[in-house]
Symmetry: D3
Subunit: 247 residues, 6 copies
Amino acid sequence: MGYDLVTFGEAMIRLSPPNFRRLEQTPVLEVNVGGSELNVAVTAQRLGLRTAYVTRLTRNALGRMIANKAREHGVDTSHIVWTDGDRVGVYFVEFGASPRPNAVIYDRRDSAMARIRPGEVDWEAVFSGTRVFHTSGITPALSEGAAKATEEAVRVAKGMGLKVSIDLNYRARLWSRERAREVMTPLVEAADILLTTEEDTERVFGIVAESYEEVARKLAERFELEAVAVTIRETPSVWRNAWTAIA
Amino acid sequence: MGYDLVTFGEAMIRLSPPNFRRLEQTPVLEVNVGGSELNVAVTAQRLGLRTAYVTRLTRNALGRMIANKAREHGVDTSHIVWTDGDRVGVYFVEFGASPRPNAVIYDRRDSAMARIRPGEVDWEAVFSGTRVFHTSGITPALSEGAAKATEEAVRVAKGMGLKVSIDLNYRARLWSRERAREVMTPLVEAADILLTTEEDTERVFGIVAESYEEVARKLAERFELEAVAVTIRETPSVWRNAWTAIA
Amino acid sequence: MGYDLVTFGEAMIRLSPPNFRRLEQTPVLEVNVGGSELNVAVTAQRLGLRTAYVTRLTRNALGRMIANKAREHGVDTSHIVWTDGDRVGVYFVEFGASPRPNAVIYDRRDSAMARIRPGEVDWEAVFSGTRVFHTSGITPALSEGAAKATEEAVRVAKGMGLKVSIDLNYRARLWSRERAREVMTPLVEAADILLTTEEDTERVFGIVAESYEEVARKLAERFELEAVAVTIRETPSVWRNAWTAIA
Amino acid sequence: MGYDLVTFGEAMIRLSPPNFRRLEQTPVLEVNVGGSELNVAVTAQRLGLRTAYVTRLTRNALGRMIANKAREHGVDTSHIVWTDGDRVGVYFVEFGASPRPNAVIYDRRDSAMARIRPGEVDWEAVFSGTRVFHTSGITPALSEGAAKATEEAVRVAKGMGLKVSIDLNYRARLWSRERAREVMTPLVEAADILLTTEEDTERVFGIVAESYEEVARKLAERFELEAVAVTIRETPSVWRNAWTAIA
Amino acid sequence: MGYDLVTFGEAMIRLSPPNFRRLEQTPVLEVNVGGSELNVAVTAQRLGLRTAYVTRLTRNALGRMIANKAREHGVDTSHIVWTDGDRVGVYFVEFGASPRPNAVIYDRRDSAMARIRPGEVDWEAVFSGTRVFHTSGITPALSEGAAKATEEAVRVAKGMGLKVSIDLNYRARLWSRERAREVMTPLVEAADILLTTEEDTERVFGIVAESYEEVARKLAERFELEAVAVTIRETPSVWRNAWTAIA
Amino acid sequence: MGYDLVTFGEAMIRLSPPNFRRLEQTPVLEVNVGGSELNVAVTAQRLGLRTAYVTRLTRNALGRMIANKAREHGVDTSHIVWTDGDRVGVYFVEFGASPRPNAVIYDRRDSAMARIRPGEVDWEAVFSGTRVFHTSGITPALSEGAAKATEEAVRVAKGMGLKVSIDLNYRARLWSRERAREVMTPLVEAADILLTTEEDTERVFGIVAESYEEVARKLAERFELEAVAVTIRETPSVWRNAWTAIA
């Protein structure tokens, strides 16, 4: 029957001290699974759509924890690529308590998903009957191989008539603005739907405008997009960031 | 493609005090999902088979917890019957510490699964391409409706050429020996595989013999079974019973 | 010497996930004892009065937990009716975090208290020397038997010269407005003190007025009450509901 | 109606690291209430007797925790002496894991119970209708005032015809053998029942014999006792000591 | 090389129920180390200074916990005075939840630090090369011996050319205003830096003024101080007090 | 004054599910610090020696946690090399429950310690006045740079007259037997003390003998060692492995 939505990206084990404790001193860590593409699939599934999540995972307890979490929420995991090598990325989140901000330590280098290469996912099989494909700018930022695998996925999706949705999500820790522009330009050109912010639009594409509506209009024109969503990020309090990845 | 195994029965929320605390005094309870047919499906799935679990659940957080747990382990839950009424059964387990034995409070009456009626599950759809159907003597013991629904499931399974596996599992709290004999006799006659103990065999069918091998032989003859497994229950220490339902 | 206050009603085991977790996903539940008539007895005892709490409980660890909690706070439990049958009601409370509201699953049907019948409590002994009897509209709403047992208690109390206090507390999940009116009318006519809200007064007695003072005056007139307390429920934030039943 | 049993002694707050953690490093402590005379009252009450527990407590949350724990189990606490001064004793127990033994830090000096003086308890009221009075050698060891208060209690109990039961329980940390002999001799002479060990009998009374039966016989003769219980303490493993004070 | 800062005072074990539970009912207590002079040393060390903390501790797990906590943060503990006698002070903090205020039970009498006497610390060794010495008004308030030991420390510090910093910190539970004035006057006369509040300044020295700036000016004049810090304590919400001693 | 003992090696963050839970399903992880050279330093310090621990750590909360743990126990950390790059190694330990064995996931590649290079530690300063230097075969196995840094440390230690102690500790996951032999041979030739097992001795040096005494004799002869300790590893039960790294 195919899926309403297929998402593609990395999920990591999130470790965070309970009760606003300091990471440096905590005797225990709470374990969650985090990753924006996985979150999108879970949310869509809970809203009633049929979804699949595609990623690459190491075949150990941490990798299984990620796949199990997707399955727990009904997301199809049968297209996940499993490897005996590499590692599962982890990140440590210390939730702040005003005036102390949140602090995050990412430890994702050389993860199984960063080591993905084109040809590892059978996209024709995944996309058969699927309506929408979604990924984010984090996925191609993981490595050169991941960038090529993302390009492959988008190309096959377009070829098979799927709508392509991309969340620009620029991460300065992962790549430079120049490299992001180079990689993201053809991807967004192929996309039908773009999610972004005014800041990321400027940083990656150098597009600025008077208002976010104008930013959206310019993006739609330049990349021939069907829909552009510009997220307005108000300065959030520490508390408002303290949401749980999958809940 | 169909399933290797479909199981059918009740799962409940298991609530147990941590660290061998007394239930009467505990400030917290650990939450697990328990049910022998669900356990069989999960175990088979983890061993690599394709399985589905069929039950009837109330559409609330407790019902979803049970379905999510099955899905987490990869068991298909798409044939579960959902209702807005009834309730999800719970049971409280106080793990003993020698010489104090385990203690269990069952609170399962009028559960959604006990209220199941024939015709609610589309067994033809469930069994299409399936190899084995498994249930236990607990399922028909839940109520008259559940007994009829079990008979229906076994009848359709046989008609579609599935192997039928039954775990006798006599529960004196749920029904009398006479009623168990009346209901279980045609079910076991239809079955290909029987799991039982010497004690249950005597209590339900009045069959006794010199050895468990002889018990198995007599059962195989009388019910024309392909395989009979007689579990030898050694007197277990309290500790040996303290396993987790799904782990 | 007798009691200053005797209360009569149901108490249940309250199970709630810690730290605003979702019930559907929680690995642990915090255990508390909840019930408005028990709360009234505990509060009065802690303020220095001599109190007794009357209810009907199953003789198992959950029933003892409820009686123990009353005793811990000094409330007399010697008039509780114990049964080997029935069950102890439970309810699951998921505390919300804005914008998610609190969610409650009640599972109280066929509880020991719902199965109480007139004649099971020796009210003459209980009320000997007692000054005030308190119950709520939840108690007679539990079942027909509980309604008759409440009527019996109020009748004996009046006959022995006690002040009778009733908290109207209309619960639409338990009975219809019509049935509530039919049962509560004679009870409130016998009462000296009434606690209610504008909403419940309208729903049960059809009384509306310009102001809550006027509502109170009308109630006092119609039912010949000594005192009427009308609780003004401001729209509370999720947090303000997050109190612990007995603390 | 009076009590079957009244016990008299000190109870303390017991603080212990969970899961065999080291006290020096633990981030949390489990809280229990401990005290041998309280334990005796709770056990007797749970076995169906009517009991009261007499002690002296500081009127704060820690003192209330001790009285609440007795009440939770149905033990009468109405004769407890409350003071605004002094303190509630605490002790820290680190449960060992072989080969590391248990370790205890007592911090009980100047506790409310150690500061008790004769005349503070109305023993005539407490003992009216009571059958048995029980205390241990720890109570008079707490201080000179506590020794005099214990003598007073035993004297009134004998005068009112109660059976007196004493657990010798010699604690070298609290007093010398000479002082113990001086104080305990008249108390045991007044007693009807004595609980002791071979070791304590030798340390306090200098009585040694071939067998524990002979020790019991000698004690019964010398102190004109009705019953003597000699506890045989096998060398227990660390685990066997790891019981919870009140469970 | 010497220290940038040496602090001198008592640290205690802080025990507090988690999640705003009531102390009277908590099954667990969180363990922290608290003491203002220790906090000052830890904070200065984390900001990059070289610090030492001087106190007197009982040689047991609780004493070691305090020294370990200082060492964990890099504070030198080699000048701590260890004793086999006395005890480590504890205090119980129940964090309030509006409208319930925080509640504290101090249990610090006869602690090892309260039993300190002059001559026990080799201040010449401690202060060799040190720039600043800091203590508070709590230290001399602990006992007469502690007052004399504080005077000794201040005298040696001045003699060796250190800057002396004093936090007035008047505690009515520990001593009277008169005794505080008598002891603190020569200490503040010897000091270079004073931390205080308007309230404490009035209570100890009887100094009042129009504004806190004027209070500071008067204190600087009267005691010939280099710097005066007057803390303005806004009425804080319960939450704002809920900080962790060492974090 | 110098140290009695300096140790050199990697420490990692150890994450383990509580109560024998499965890693795949745990909602929390207990946090400890593990590393054999750190353990040796902590143990020696607790036994009364003056010790320092040398390693290379990333300057973040995880790195500080490791240094803090060493300091907590009094081990000097002033010679630790800090870097803003690289990462802190982590490992996940799932404690087994018979018949399920322990399971470990190491995630230590490219850690700060694996990236150490010769010249980063000022060994002359570290060793001034020091008596013994200790490291293990894990340290040079981490990377080629770490091997060279270990050789440098041993060379300087010998040159300054320290005793050198080496724990052979062969880890097949980190390097081949051939590479281990090549690197360890000159290190053990320089050593005075060797800790090893019969198995590791055979795997790394190809030395076998009738008895462990003979193995020790052969090692002492071939490498001119002062002392050889051969650990006899009995087949330990799962439980006996379940020790805490630093306790």
